[in-house]
Protein backbone atom coordinates (compact mmCIF):
# COMPACT_ATOMS: atom_id res chain seq x y z
CA UNK A 1 0.00 0.00 0.00
CA UNK A 2 1.23 3.45 -0.89
CA UNK A 3 2.32 5.40 2.17
CA UNK A 4 1.07 8.91 2.82
CA UNK A 5 4.31 9.77 4.59
CA UNK A 6 5.73 13.10 3.40
CA UNK A 7 3.33 13.32 0.46
CA UNK A 8 1.39 16.37 1.65
CA UNK A 9 2.06 19.62 3.43
CA UNK A 10 0.29 22.34 5.33
CA UNK A 11 0.90 25.58 3.49
CA UNK A 12 -1.50 28.07 5.01
CA UNK A 13 -2.94 28.72 8.44
CA UNK A 14 -5.21 31.38 9.88
CA UNK A 15 -7.34 32.17 12.86
CA UNK A 16 -9.85 34.88 13.53
CA UNK A 17 -9.82 36.88 16.70
CA UNK A 18 -11.20 34.88 19.57
CA UNK A 19 -13.61 36.11 22.17
CA UNK A 20 -16.45 35.07 24.40
CA UNK A 21 -18.87 36.89 22.13
CA UNK A 22 -17.86 37.49 18.53
CA UNK A 23 -21.02 39.41 17.69
CA UNK A 24 -20.90 37.77 14.24
CA UNK A 25 -22.34 34.74 12.58
CA UNK A 26 -20.36 31.53 12.29
CA UNK A 27 -20.59 31.96 8.49
CA UNK A 28 -18.93 35.34 8.74
CA UNK A 29 -16.11 33.91 10.85
CA UNK A 30 -15.70 30.98 8.44
CA UNK A 31 -15.44 33.17 5.35
CA UNK A 32 -12.90 35.46 6.98
CA UNK A 33 -10.69 32.64 8.19
CA UNK A 34 -10.75 30.63 4.98
CA UNK A 35 -9.79 33.64 2.91
CA UNK A 36 -7.01 34.47 5.38
CA UNK A 37 -5.62 30.92 5.27
CA UNK A 38 -5.67 30.89 1.47
CA UNK A 39 -3.95 34.31 1.42
CA UNK A 40 -1.39 32.97 3.88
CA UNK A 41 -0.61 30.14 1.48
CA UNK A 42 -0.15 32.56 -1.39
CA UNK A 43 -3.04 30.97 -3.26
CA UNK A 44 -6.27 32.27 -4.77
CA UNK A 45 -9.68 31.13 -3.58
CA UNK A 46 -10.47 29.74 -7.03
CA UNK A 47 -7.55 27.34 -6.68
CA UNK A 48 -9.12 25.65 -3.65
CA UNK A 49 -10.88 22.50 -4.86
CA UNK A 50 -11.42 20.63 -1.60
CA UNK A 51 -13.19 21.54 1.61
CA UNK A 52 -13.31 19.64 4.90
CA UNK A 53 -15.44 20.75 7.80
CA UNK A 54 -16.36 19.38 11.15
CA UNK A 55 -19.74 17.84 11.77
CA UNK A 56 -19.74 19.40 15.21
CA UNK A 57 -20.11 22.85 13.70
CA UNK A 58 -23.65 23.78 12.78
CA UNK A 59 -22.67 25.35 9.50
CA UNK A 60 -23.57 24.54 5.91
CA UNK A 61 -20.43 24.21 3.79
CA UNK A 62 -22.36 25.04 0.62
CA UNK A 63 -23.29 28.42 2.03
CA UNK A 64 -19.66 29.12 2.84
CA UNK A 65 -18.64 28.04 -0.64
CA UNK A 66 -21.24 30.36 -2.14
CA UNK A 67 -20.12 33.36 -0.10
CA UNK A 68 -16.49 32.76 -1.03
CA UNK A 69 -17.34 32.39 -4.69
CA UNK A 70 -15.73 28.97 -4.91
CA UNK A 71 -17.38 27.50 -7.97
CA UNK A 72 -16.26 23.91 -8.03
CA UNK A 73 -15.16 21.55 -5.31
CA UNK A 74 -13.89 18.15 -6.42
CA UNK A 75 -13.75 16.93 -2.81
CA UNK A 76 -15.65 17.78 0.35
CA UNK A 77 -16.42 15.98 3.59
CA UNK A 78 -17.81 16.38 7.06
CA UNK A 79 -15.49 14.89 9.60
CA UNK A 80 -17.63 12.98 12.05
CA UNK A 81 -17.07 12.30 15.74
CA UNK A 82 -13.48 11.39 16.27
CA UNK A 83 -12.55 10.99 12.67
CA UNK A 84 -9.70 12.99 11.31
CA UNK A 85 -10.31 16.03 9.10
CA UNK A 86 -6.59 16.19 8.38
CA UNK A 87 -6.66 12.57 7.24
CA UNK A 88 -9.59 13.42 4.97
CA UNK A 89 -7.63 16.27 3.44
CA UNK A 90 -4.39 14.31 3.12
CA UNK A 91 -6.02 11.31 1.46
CA UNK A 92 -7.96 13.54 -0.92
CA UNK A 93 -4.71 15.10 -2.06
CA UNK A 94 -2.63 11.91 -2.04
CA UNK A 95 -5.26 10.21 -4.21
CA UNK A 96 -5.28 13.06 -6.70
CA UNK A 97 -8.92 13.87 -6.03
CA UNK A 98 -8.10 17.42 -5.01
CA UNK A 99 -5.11 19.74 -5.31
CA UNK A 100 -5.70 22.25 -2.52
CA UNK A 101 -7.94 21.40 0.42
CA UNK A 102 -9.04 23.82 3.10
CA UNK A 103 -10.08 22.50 6.49
CA UNK A 104 -11.93 24.91 8.71
CA UNK A 105 -13.83 25.17 11.92
CA UNK A 106 -16.07 28.02 12.93
CA UNK A 107 -18.14 28.17 16.07
CA UNK A 108 -19.60 30.65 18.48
CA UNK A 109 -18.96 28.45 21.49
CA UNK A 110 -18.48 31.23 23.94
CA UNK A 111 -21.75 32.97 23.16
CA UNK A 112 -23.79 30.67 20.97
CA UNK A 113 -26.10 27.78 21.51
CA UNK A 114 -24.62 24.55 22.71
CA UNK A 115 -24.98 20.85 22.35
CA UNK A 116 -27.71 20.56 24.96
CA UNK A 117 -29.96 23.04 23.25
CA UNK A 118 -29.33 21.33 19.93
CA UNK A 119 -30.44 18.03 21.41
CA UNK A 120 -33.54 19.56 22.84
CA UNK A 121 -34.52 21.16 19.56
CA UNK A 122 -33.88 17.91 17.75
CA UNK A 123 -35.96 16.01 20.27
CA UNK A 124 -38.88 18.30 19.73
CA UNK A 125 -38.72 17.74 16.02
CA UNK A 126 -38.39 13.95 16.46
CA UNK A 127 -34.99 13.84 14.88
CA UNK A 128 -33.86 10.24 15.14
CA UNK A 129 -30.17 10.52 14.49
CA UNK A 130 -27.94 7.87 15.97
CA UNK A 131 -26.58 10.23 18.58
CA UNK A 132 -30.03 10.98 19.87
CA UNK A 133 -30.93 7.34 20.07
CA UNK A 134 -27.90 6.83 22.23
CA UNK A 135 -28.62 9.88 24.38
CA UNK A 136 -32.03 8.43 25.12
CA UNK A 137 -30.32 6.24 27.68
CA UNK A 138 -28.52 9.13 29.37
CA UNK A 139 -30.47 12.38 29.20
CA UNK A 140 -33.56 11.29 31.20
CA UNK A 141 -31.22 10.78 34.17
CA UNK A 142 -29.63 14.22 33.97
CA UNK A 143 -26.47 13.15 32.15
CA UNK A 144 -26.17 15.44 29.17
CA UNK A 145 -23.20 17.77 29.32
CA UNK A 146 -19.75 16.66 28.14
CA UNK A 147 -18.18 17.29 31.55
CA UNK A 148 -20.66 14.90 33.11
CA UNK A 149 -20.33 12.26 30.44
CA UNK A 150 -16.54 12.32 30.50
CA UNK A 151 -16.55 12.30 34.30
CA UNK A 152 -17.67 8.67 34.43
CA UNK A 153 -14.47 7.52 32.75
CA UNK A 154 -12.34 9.94 34.73
CA UNK A 155 -13.77 8.53 37.96
CA UNK A 156 -12.77 5.01 36.93
CA UNK A 157 -9.34 6.21 35.79
CA UNK A 158 -8.70 7.76 39.20
CA UNK A 159 -10.07 4.73 41.01
CA UNK A 160 -8.41 2.00 38.94
CA UNK A 161 -4.93 3.49 39.24
CA UNK A 162 -5.13 5.18 42.64
CA UNK A 163 -4.66 8.64 41.18
CA UNK A 164 -4.84 11.71 43.38
CA UNK A 165 -6.72 14.43 41.43
CA UNK A 166 -4.17 16.92 42.76
CA UNK A 167 -1.64 15.27 40.41
CA UNK A 168 -3.87 16.15 37.46
CA UNK A 169 -3.82 19.81 38.50
CA UNK A 170 -0.35 20.17 37.03
CA UNK A 171 -1.85 19.85 33.54
CA UNK A 172 -3.85 23.10 33.67
CA UNK A 173 -1.02 24.76 35.59
CA UNK A 174 1.51 24.02 32.83
CA UNK A 175 -0.97 24.87 30.08
CA UNK A 176 -1.65 28.22 31.70
CA UNK A 177 2.09 28.86 32.03
CA UNK A 178 2.52 28.23 28.31
CA UNK A 179 -0.54 30.34 27.53
CA UNK A 180 0.91 33.18 29.58
CA UNK A 181 3.37 33.84 26.74
CA UNK A 182 0.67 33.68 24.06
CA UNK A 183 -1.09 37.02 23.54
CA UNK A 184 -4.05 35.23 21.96
CA UNK A 185 -4.65 33.05 24.98
CA UNK A 186 -7.30 33.41 27.61
CA UNK A 187 -4.61 32.87 30.24
CA UNK A 188 -2.22 35.35 28.60
CA UNK A 189 -0.10 36.89 31.30
CA UNK A 190 -2.27 35.20 33.90
CA UNK A 191 -0.80 31.82 34.81
CA UNK A 192 -2.50 29.85 37.54
CA UNK A 193 -0.72 28.11 40.37
CA UNK A 194 -1.35 24.65 41.74
CA UNK A 195 -3.10 26.23 44.73
CA UNK A 196 -5.55 27.89 42.33
CA UNK A 197 -6.37 24.48 40.93
CA UNK A 198 -7.01 22.99 44.34
CA UNK A 199 -9.17 26.00 45.22
CA UNK A 200 -11.25 25.90 42.06
CA UNK A 201 -14.84 24.72 42.35
CA UNK A 202 -15.81 21.13 41.76
CA UNK A 203 -18.28 21.60 38.91
CA UNK A 204 -19.06 17.99 38.06
CA UNK A 205 -17.43 15.78 40.63
CA UNK A 206 -14.72 14.49 39.92
CA UNK A 207 -13.93 17.49 37.69
CA UNK A 208 -12.94 20.92 38.93
CA UNK A 209 -13.60 24.05 36.92
CA UNK A 210 -9.92 24.29 36.03
CA UNK A 211 -10.03 20.73 34.64
CA UNK A 212 -12.40 22.04 31.97
CA UNK A 213 -11.25 24.13 29.01
CA UNK A 214 -12.83 27.57 28.58
CA UNK A 215 -14.86 28.00 25.42
CA UNK A 216 -14.46 30.75 22.88
CA UNK A 217 -16.00 32.10 19.69
CA UNK A 218 -13.85 32.01 16.60
CA UNK A 219 -12.64 30.14 13.56
CA UNK A 220 -9.53 28.42 12.30
CA UNK A 221 -8.47 27.16 8.89
CA UNK A 222 -5.56 25.34 7.31
CA UNK A 223 -4.70 24.77 3.67
CA UNK A 224 -3.20 21.44 2.64
CA UNK A 225 -1.65 20.52 -0.68
CA UNK A 226 0.83 18.02 -2.05
CA UNK A 227 4.45 18.25 -0.96
CA UNK A 228 5.33 18.77 -4.64
CA UNK A 229 2.99 21.72 -5.14
CA UNK A 230 4.11 23.17 -1.83
CA UNK A 231 7.58 23.69 -3.26
CA UNK A 232 6.16 26.33 -5.61
CA UNK A 233 4.82 28.41 -2.76
CA UNK A 234 6.74 31.14 -1.01
CA UNK A 235 6.71 29.85 2.57
CA UNK A 236 8.43 26.77 3.87
CA UNK A 237 5.75 24.10 4.08
CA UNK A 238 5.00 21.93 7.09
CA UNK A 239 5.32 18.45 5.65
CA UNK A 240 2.89 15.92 7.09
CA UNK A 241 4.95 12.94 8.19
CA UNK A 242 2.02 10.91 9.36
CA UNK A 243 -1.64 11.19 10.06
CA UNK A 244 -3.97 8.60 11.50
CA UNK A 245 -7.27 8.08 13.20
CA UNK A 246 -8.51 5.30 15.41
CA UNK A 247 -11.83 3.83 16.38
CA UNK A 248 -12.50 0.95 18.72
CA UNK A 249 -15.26 -1.39 19.77
CA UNK A 250 -18.34 -0.12 21.60
CA UNK A 251 -17.25 3.41 20.93
CA UNK A 252 -19.48 6.40 21.60
CA UNK A 253 -18.68 10.06 21.60
CA UNK A 254 -17.83 10.96 25.21
CA UNK A 255 -19.26 7.86 26.82
CA UNK A 256 -18.48 4.32 25.55
CA UNK A 257 -19.87 2.99 28.80
CA UNK A 258 -20.27 -0.57 27.58
CA UNK A 259 -16.70 -1.34 26.75
CA UNK A 260 -14.53 -3.52 28.94
CA UNK A 261 -12.83 -0.75 30.91
CA UNK A 262 -13.44 2.99 31.00
CA UNK A 263 -10.03 3.94 32.31
CA UNK A 264 -8.12 3.58 29.06
CA UNK A 265 -8.34 5.00 25.53
CA UNK A 266 -8.16 2.02 23.15
CA UNK A 267 -8.80 4.12 20.05
CA UNK A 268 -5.92 6.37 21.01
CA UNK A 269 -3.68 3.31 21.39
CA UNK A 270 -4.66 2.12 17.91
CA UNK A 271 -4.21 5.55 16.43
CA UNK A 272 -0.81 6.02 18.06
CA UNK A 273 0.49 2.72 16.72
CA UNK A 274 -0.55 3.65 13.19
CA UNK A 275 0.77 7.16 13.54
CA UNK A 276 4.22 5.97 14.60
CA UNK A 277 4.25 3.14 12.04
CA UNK A 278 3.66 5.52 9.13
CA UNK A 279 6.16 8.06 10.46
CA UNK A 280 8.81 5.46 11.19
CA UNK A 281 9.55 6.97 14.57
CA UNK A 282 8.51 6.26 18.15
CA UNK A 283 7.51 8.09 21.32
CA UNK A 284 11.12 8.61 22.33
CA UNK A 285 11.64 10.73 19.20
CA UNK A 286 8.93 13.20 20.16
CA UNK A 287 9.67 16.35 22.16
CA UNK A 288 6.42 18.29 21.91
CA UNK A 289 2.86 17.04 22.15
CA UNK A 290 -0.31 18.96 21.41
CA UNK A 291 -2.81 16.76 23.20
CA UNK A 292 -6.54 17.14 23.66
CA UNK A 293 -6.91 18.87 26.99
CA UNK A 294 -10.58 19.73 26.84
CA UNK A 295 -10.59 17.97 30.19
CA UNK A 296 -7.28 17.81 32.02
CA UNK A 297 -7.40 14.10 32.97
CA UNK A 298 -7.44 13.23 29.27
CA UNK A 299 -3.80 14.30 29.09
CA UNK A 300 -2.31 11.58 31.31
CA UNK A 301 -4.66 9.06 29.71
CA UNK A 302 -3.33 10.04 26.28
CA UNK A 303 0.28 9.95 27.48
CA UNK A 304 -0.30 6.33 28.45
CA UNK A 305 -2.18 5.42 25.27
CA UNK A 306 0.52 6.92 23.04
CA UNK A 307 3.35 5.18 24.87
CA UNK A 308 5.01 8.19 26.50
CA UNK A 309 4.71 6.34 29.80
CA UNK A 310 3.37 3.06 31.09
CA UNK A 311 -0.22 2.17 31.95
CA UNK A 312 -1.36 4.03 35.03
CA UNK A 313 1.78 6.20 35.09
CA UNK A 314 0.35 9.26 33.34
CA UNK A 315 -0.53 11.20 36.47
CA UNK A 316 2.96 10.68 37.93
CA UNK A 317 4.38 11.88 34.59
CA UNK A 318 2.41 15.12 34.99
CA UNK A 319 3.10 15.67 38.69
CA UNK A 320 5.14 18.77 39.39
CA UNK A 321 4.82 19.83 35.77
CA UNK A 322 8.52 19.74 34.84
CA UNK A 323 8.16 16.93 32.29
CA UNK A 324 5.43 18.93 30.50
CA UNK A 325 7.14 22.31 30.41
CA UNK A 326 9.03 23.63 27.40
CA UNK A 327 12.45 22.04 27.69
CA UNK A 328 11.06 19.11 29.66
CA UNK A 329 10.71 15.52 28.51
CA UNK A 330 7.58 16.31 26.48
CA UNK A 331 6.55 19.93 26.13
CA UNK A 332 2.76 19.92 26.36
CA UNK A 333 0.50 22.24 24.39
CA UNK A 334 3.03 24.98 23.93
CA UNK A 335 0.33 27.47 22.92
CA UNK A 336 -1.50 26.81 26.17
CA UNK A 337 -3.82 24.19 24.73
CA UNK A 338 -7.54 24.30 25.10
CA UNK A 339 -7.12 24.77 28.85
CA UNK A 340 -4.88 27.80 28.51
CA UNK A 341 -5.69 29.27 25.14
CA UNK A 342 -9.34 28.46 24.65
CA UNK A 343 -11.55 25.78 23.23
CA UNK A 344 -13.45 25.87 20.01
CA UNK A 345 -16.02 23.18 20.51
CA UNK A 346 -19.69 22.96 21.11
CA UNK A 347 -20.10 22.18 24.71
CA UNK A 348 -22.17 22.93 27.73
CA UNK A 349 -25.66 24.25 27.55
CA UNK A 350 -26.10 27.88 28.38
CA UNK A 351 -28.55 28.78 31.09
CA UNK A 352 -28.32 32.50 30.66
CA UNK A 353 -26.11 34.95 32.44
CA UNK A 354 -23.16 36.92 31.20
CA UNK A 355 -20.87 35.52 28.51
CA UNK A 356 -18.11 33.64 30.18
CA UNK A 357 -15.81 31.03 28.74
CA UNK A 358 -16.65 28.37 31.27
CA UNK A 359 -20.23 29.52 31.40
CA UNK A 360 -19.50 30.14 35.01
CA UNK A 361 -18.72 33.41 36.66
CA UNK A 362 -15.06 34.23 36.19
CA UNK A 363 -14.13 37.50 37.84
CA UNK A 364 -10.61 38.66 37.27
CA UNK A 365 -9.83 36.43 34.33
CA UNK A 366 -8.86 37.94 31.04
CA UNK A 367 -11.55 37.19 28.50
CA UNK A 368 -11.52 36.15 25.30
CA UNK A 369 -9.11 34.78 23.01
CA UNK A 370 -7.66 31.58 21.83
CA UNK A 371 -6.86 29.64 18.77
CA UNK A 372 -7.86 26.28 20.10
CA UNK A 373 -9.65 24.14 17.59
CA UNK A 374 -11.73 21.19 18.45
CA UNK A 375 -9.74 18.43 16.80
CA UNK A 376 -7.21 20.96 15.77
CA UNK A 377 -4.42 21.26 18.30
CA UNK A 378 -3.01 24.58 17.38
CA UNK A 379 0.50 25.46 18.43
CA UNK A 380 0.27 29.19 18.47
CA UNK A 381 0.05 29.96 14.80
CA UNK A 382 3.36 30.93 13.27
CA UNK A 383 5.22 32.18 16.29
CA UNK A 384 5.37 29.18 18.51
CA UNK A 385 8.69 28.93 20.31
CA UNK A 386 8.73 25.14 20.39
CA UNK A 387 12.36 24.12 20.23
CA UNK A 388 11.96 20.97 18.20
CA UNK A 389 11.30 20.04 14.64
CA UNK A 390 8.64 17.43 15.12
CA UNK A 391 5.35 18.09 16.75
CA UNK A 392 3.01 15.34 17.74
CA UNK A 393 -0.55 16.38 17.41
CA UNK A 394 -3.14 14.22 18.98
CA UNK A 395 -6.54 15.64 19.48
CA UNK A 396 -9.77 13.98 20.18
CA UNK A 397 -13.42 14.49 19.81
CA UNK A 398 -14.27 12.04 22.48
CA UNK A 399 -12.88 11.93 25.91
CA UNK A 400 -12.44 8.99 28.17
CA UNK A 401 -13.71 5.98 26.34
CA UNK A 402 -14.60 8.03 23.36
CA UNK A 403 -15.23 7.26 19.77
CA UNK A 404 -11.89 7.80 18.20
CA UNK A 405 -8.74 9.80 17.99
CA UNK A 406 -6.64 11.29 15.29
CA UNK A 407 -3.25 12.77 15.08
CA UNK A 408 -0.58 13.91 12.72
CA UNK A 409 3.12 14.48 12.81
CA UNK A 410 4.33 17.60 11.15
CA UNK A 411 7.96 17.85 10.16
CA UNK A 412 9.08 21.42 10.24
CA UNK A 413 12.78 20.68 10.38
CA UNK A 414 13.79 23.51 8.12
CA UNK A 415 12.21 26.24 10.15
CA UNK A 416 12.00 27.12 13.82
CA UNK A 417 8.30 27.64 13.43
CA UNK A 418 5.83 24.92 14.16
CA UNK A 419 2.59 24.62 12.35
CA UNK A 420 0.19 21.83 12.83
CA UNK A 421 -3.37 20.76 12.64
Amino acid sequence: MKSIKDTTAIVGVATTDFSTDSGRTEYSLACEVIKAAVDDAGLRLDQIDGMVKDVVDGIDAMYVQKALGMETLSYSSDSHWGTSPLLNAVTAIASGTANYVVYFRSANNGSGKRAGSDFRAAKETKDESLDLIRYDFYSPFGLLTPAGMIGMGVRRYYDDYGIDPAQIGWVPVVCSEHAAANPHAIFFDAPIGHDDYLASDVVVDPLRRLDCAPEVDGAIAVVITSAERAKDLADTPAVVMSVAQGTSTEGENLSSYNREVLSRLPEMELMGRELFRVAGIGPSDISVAQLDDRFAPLVPMQLEALGFCGEGEGAAFCEGGDALRVGGRLALNTNGGFLGEGLLARHERDRGGPPDPWHLDQPGRRRGVGAGGHRCGWPCGRSDPAPVAITAIATATAGAGGASRWAGFIDRASTPEVVAA
Partner: protein, 143 residues
Protein backbone atom coordinates in the same frame (compact mmCIF):
# COMPACT_ATOMS: atom_id res chain seq x y z
CA UNK B 1 -36.20 10.48 46.78
CA UNK B 2 -32.93 12.14 46.13
CA UNK B 3 -33.69 13.50 42.68
CA UNK B 4 -35.66 16.71 42.81
CA UNK B 5 -37.20 17.81 39.54
CA UNK B 6 -37.73 21.44 38.61
CA UNK B 7 -41.40 22.12 37.85
CA UNK B 8 -42.13 23.34 34.36
CA UNK B 9 -38.97 22.05 32.69
CA UNK B 10 -39.62 18.90 30.68
CA UNK B 11 -37.44 15.85 31.15
CA UNK B 12 -35.95 14.67 27.89
CA UNK B 13 -37.72 11.41 27.19
CA UNK B 14 -36.45 8.69 24.95
CA UNK B 15 -37.27 8.98 21.28
CA UNK B 16 -38.71 5.60 20.46
CA UNK B 17 -37.78 3.66 17.37
CA UNK B 18 -38.00 0.04 16.34
CA UNK B 19 -34.64 -0.77 17.93
CA UNK B 20 -35.28 0.59 21.41
CA UNK B 21 -39.08 0.56 21.75
CA UNK B 22 -39.31 -2.80 23.58
CA UNK B 23 -36.91 -1.55 26.25
CA UNK B 24 -38.93 1.54 27.12
CA UNK B 25 -42.30 -0.15 26.80
CA UNK B 26 -41.08 -2.69 29.36
CA UNK B 27 -40.00 0.12 31.69
CA UNK B 28 -43.52 1.50 31.48
CA UNK B 29 -44.71 -1.93 32.72
CA UNK B 30 -42.11 -1.82 35.52
CA UNK B 31 -39.96 -4.47 33.89
CA UNK B 32 -36.32 -4.28 32.92
CA UNK B 33 -35.52 -6.10 29.70
CA UNK B 34 -32.22 -6.31 27.89
CA UNK B 35 -31.51 -6.98 24.26
CA UNK B 36 -29.65 -10.25 23.66
CA UNK B 37 -28.58 -12.19 20.63
CA UNK B 38 -30.38 -15.53 20.81
CA UNK B 39 -27.67 -17.18 18.73
CA UNK B 40 -24.50 -16.22 20.59
CA UNK B 41 -26.17 -15.05 23.83
CA UNK B 42 -24.37 -11.72 23.79
CA UNK B 43 -26.12 -8.91 25.68
CA UNK B 44 -26.30 -5.64 23.73
CA UNK B 45 -26.59 -2.19 25.28
CA UNK B 46 -27.57 0.18 23.83
CA UNK B 47 -29.90 -1.88 21.62
CA UNK B 48 -28.98 -2.15 17.97
CA UNK B 49 -30.27 -3.74 14.77
CA UNK B 50 -27.53 -6.38 14.39
CA UNK B 51 -25.45 -8.62 16.64
CA UNK B 52 -21.87 -7.36 16.32
CA UNK B 53 -20.51 -10.88 17.01
CA UNK B 54 -22.45 -13.15 14.64
CA UNK B 55 -24.09 -10.45 12.49
CA UNK B 56 -27.52 -11.96 12.69
CA UNK B 57 -30.50 -9.63 12.66
CA UNK B 58 -33.39 -12.01 13.22
CA UNK B 59 -32.10 -13.64 16.42
CA UNK B 60 -32.20 -10.51 18.55
CA UNK B 61 -34.50 -10.98 21.53
CA UNK B 62 -35.55 -9.19 24.70
CA UNK B 63 -34.96 -11.00 27.97
CA UNK B 64 -36.10 -9.96 31.39
CA UNK B 65 -33.41 -8.89 33.84
CA UNK B 66 -33.64 -9.04 37.64
CA UNK B 67 -31.83 -5.67 37.56
CA UNK B 68 -29.12 -6.63 40.02
CA UNK B 69 -25.66 -5.17 39.81
CA UNK B 70 -23.28 -2.71 41.37
CA UNK B 71 -22.20 0.88 40.91
CA UNK B 72 -19.39 0.92 38.35
CA UNK B 73 -18.88 4.68 38.26
CA UNK B 74 -20.72 7.91 39.03
CA UNK B 75 -20.60 11.67 38.63
CA UNK B 76 -22.09 14.27 40.95
CA UNK B 77 -23.50 17.44 39.44
CA UNK B 78 -22.72 20.17 41.91
CA UNK B 79 -22.91 23.31 39.76
CA UNK B 80 -26.20 24.50 38.42
CA UNK B 81 -24.90 25.72 35.09
CA UNK B 82 -23.24 22.48 34.08
CA UNK B 83 -26.20 20.38 35.16
CA UNK B 84 -29.44 19.36 33.51
CA UNK B 85 -31.93 22.20 34.07
CA UNK B 86 -34.79 19.85 34.87
CA UNK B 87 -33.02 18.54 37.96
CA UNK B 88 -31.91 20.40 41.06
CA UNK B 89 -28.27 20.20 42.09
CA UNK B 90 -26.62 18.46 43.71
CA UNK B 91 -27.60 15.22 42.07
CA UNK B 92 -25.74 12.05 41.26
CA UNK B 93 -25.77 10.02 38.05
CA UNK B 94 -24.59 6.44 38.42
CA UNK B 95 -23.34 3.89 35.92
CA UNK B 96 -24.58 0.48 37.06
CA UNK B 97 -22.96 -2.72 35.87
CA UNK B 98 -25.62 -5.40 35.82
CA UNK B 99 -24.91 -9.06 36.52
CA UNK B 100 -25.51 -9.68 32.79
CA UNK B 101 -22.42 -7.55 32.13
CA UNK B 102 -24.05 -4.53 30.50
CA UNK B 103 -24.00 -1.08 32.05
CA UNK B 104 -26.88 1.37 32.42
CA UNK B 105 -26.85 5.05 33.33
CA UNK B 106 -29.39 5.85 36.04
CA UNK B 107 -30.02 7.55 39.38
CA UNK B 108 -30.10 6.23 42.95
CA UNK B 109 -33.31 6.74 44.90
CA UNK B 110 -31.87 6.24 48.36
CA UNK B 111 -28.36 7.68 48.33
CA UNK B 112 -27.29 11.29 48.55
CA UNK B 113 -24.48 12.27 46.17
CA UNK B 114 -21.85 12.15 48.90
CA UNK B 115 -22.92 8.61 49.82
CA UNK B 116 -22.42 7.13 46.35
CA UNK B 117 -19.37 4.89 45.99
CA UNK B 118 -18.01 2.50 43.38
CA UNK B 119 -18.92 -1.10 44.18
CA UNK B 120 -22.15 -0.53 46.12
CA UNK B 121 -24.57 -3.40 45.28
CA UNK B 122 -27.84 -2.14 43.78
CA UNK B 123 -31.13 -3.39 42.36
CA UNK B 124 -33.60 -1.85 39.96
CA UNK B 125 -36.74 0.05 40.96
CA UNK B 126 -39.22 1.97 38.85
CA UNK B 127 -40.11 5.60 39.32
CA UNK B 128 -43.43 6.85 37.93
CA UNK B 129 -42.44 10.47 37.57
CA UNK B 130 -45.55 11.62 35.74
CA UNK B 131 -48.54 10.20 33.90
CA UNK B 132 -46.47 9.71 30.78
CA UNK B 133 -42.99 9.07 32.13
CA UNK B 134 -41.59 6.10 34.03
CA UNK B 135 -37.86 5.69 34.54
CA UNK B 136 -35.80 2.79 35.85
CA UNK B 137 -33.70 3.74 38.84
CA UNK B 138 -31.72 1.87 41.47
CA UNK B 139 -31.66 1.38 45.22
CA UNK B 140 -29.09 -0.15 47.52
CA UNK B 141 -29.36 -3.97 47.58
CA UNK B 142 -28.74 -5.95 50.74
CA UNK B 143 -25.89 -8.22 49.70
Amino acid sequence: MTIEYVPGIPILKASLDDDNRPFWEAVNRHELVLQRCGACKLYLQPPRPMCPECHSMDTLEWVESPGRGEIYSYVNFTTDRMAYPAMKVPYSVVLVELEEGVRLVSNMIDLEPDEVKIGIPVEVVFDDISDDLTLFKFKVRES
